[in-house]
């Protein structure tokens, strides 16, 4: 008790507690979607923890990276588990972030005054994908080596600056040890710093504006203020959150144990690309799209057209709250566009999973 008093005199403990006690979370038929943000955050924390552990043994050079991962998996006690959890948690985090993004879009939670919350969220999703891309190469195995070669070469389709962009990503003209060091630096220093700042902003905004209520529920509340219930954040919502996190942890532990992430063969720059080169599942739809675009579309480089379309999609997603109108009609348009995007990405992923390369 003395310690508590000592801390309360120096930290705004009571203020924080009072705020949390007052905080309430709306409770309605769509409330389940509120948990995906928290889940993503939880998985991010796991990534930071397991990532720090992996750093203790990992060596970021072409000569040693593969061997050091092998050492982690084969020799370090529980090394296989730490690596598997890091890999699986990354996958779940991407899935959870996508679920969060689409649910927020479908429930129109991006509306005023939450525009910046949405935009920081879209940027965080982009960062999550960048984490995935930069982390993929680090074990320096065959599949990731060629996937990174393909992934970085796509940047070459950008007019004028394409070549400089590829060199920036690869740290030279080819994917070499220089690329590994570079992507490693992004993965463990640059991206975490930016992500931490953005997460802080995102949480601050969520705290400031509270949970958004979808328009249909809003209408109901306007007609009858008693119709929409809410539950206290402390302890009700927090306990539910903790329950969700425990469930995620259980799923994660089972996946990591029963499907430990494989290492494959060491990358050899002078071996032919093996069949079955593919990026992580969350890039599969883009990979599949690139397979189907013809070399030239309307006199332009086909890849460039595809990349430009995807790029404008991303920019559109970022600016969604600024361009979407306030009428129910424009909300319906948002729903249709999001559904179409989801369908396209899902369909392309299925196609990629089904094609067995001869």
């Amino acid at each position: 008790m003395r310690l508590r008093a000592w801390l309360a005199e120096r930290l705004p403990l009571d203020d924080v507690l009072a705020t949390l006690r007052h905080k309430r979370v709306p409770h309605h038929e769509y409330s389940v979607w509120y948990y995906f943000g928290g889940t993503t955050l939880f998985l991010f924390a796991i990534q930071v923890g397991t990532g720090a552990l992996l750093l203790l043994y990992y060596r970021p050079s072409a000569a040693e990276a593969y061997e050091s991962v092998q050492f982690i998996v084969a020799r370090v006690p529980f090394g296989w588990l730490v690596r598997s959890i890091h890999a699986w948690s990354a996958n779940l985090m991407v899935a959870s972030a996508f679920a969060h993004l689409f649910s927020v879009a479908f429930l129109h939670a991006y509306r005023r005054p939450r525009e910046l919350t949405w935009m920081s969220g879209v940027l965080l999703l982009v960062l999550t994908l960048a984490f995935g891309f930069t982390g993929y190469l680090l074990p320096w195995n065959e599949v990731s080596f060629f996937a990174t070669r393909v992934g970085t070469d796509i940047a070459a389709t950008v007019p004028l600056v394409g070549h400089a962009l590829v060199r920036f990503l690869r740290g030279g003209d080819d994917v070499t040890g220089a690329t590994l060091t570079r992507l490693f630096g992004f993965h463990v220093a640059v991206l975490p710093a930016v992500a931490t700042a953005l997460v802080a902003l995102h949480l601050l905004l969520v705290q400031r504006h509270g949970m958004s209520v979808p328009p249909s529920v809003e209408r109901r509340a306007a007609a009858d203020p008693g119709a929409v219930r809410s539950i206290p954040f402390l302890p009700h919502f927090l306990l539910r959150d903790l329950f969700a996190w425990t469930a995620v942890l259980a799923v994660l532990a089972s996946l990591a144990t029963f499907y430990p992430s494989e290492l494959g063969a060491k990358a050899d720059p002078f071996a032919p690309a093996p069949a079955g080169i593919r990026p992580e599942w969350y890039f599969l739809w883009a990979f599949e799209t690139l397979k189907h675009v013809p070399p030239t579309v309307a006199g332009l480089n086909g890849e460039f057209v595809a990349v430009a379309a995807m790029g404008s999609g991303a920019v559109g997603a970022l600016l969604l709250p600024l361009v979407a109108g306030r009428s129910p009609r424009s909300r319906a348009i948002v729903v249709w566009i999001c559904a179409a995007a989801l369908l396209f990405m899902g369909g392309m992923t299925m196609l990629a999973l089904r094609t067995v390369t001869p």
């Binding site: 060629f146 070669r149 400089a164 080819d174 002078f270 032919p272 690309a273 675009v293 070399p295």
Partner: protein, 149 residues
Amino acid sequence: MTTGNEHPQARRSVVNWLLGLWGGGVLASIFYPVVRYLAPPDVPEAAALSVTAGSAQALAPNSGRVVPFGARPAIVIRTPAGELRAFSATCTHLDCTVQYRPDLQRIWCACHNGEYDLNGRNVAGPPPRPLDPYDVNVAGDEITITRRS
């Protein structure tokens, strides 16, 4: 008290302008080196003009072999008719390394199922250009491939 302070507005805008100039200068002096630092320097690679590519005997008809050509891979193939040919092994689509597919009698890229014929011409799939051809010479049993200049 207006001595020397007749135009506070004008004065303020001058000060703001100077502050902006100062801030911009500081930012530029930080970001310029950083941006330059991020672009990797050109490492002049010994431009390999020709390399040896192993035994000619060991390369059976209707097969191929990938060999280093400087920093990049090259592919030497023996056609079903027994002729030796060599190309750059870097796929013109998105940079994967190609291989010889005896069953198709073509050079094949596993990444997006691109195909090149025995002359290195892109004949199926996404590759937009043919593979760069190299000259092949055999001295004794040793294959030498040379970049055409």
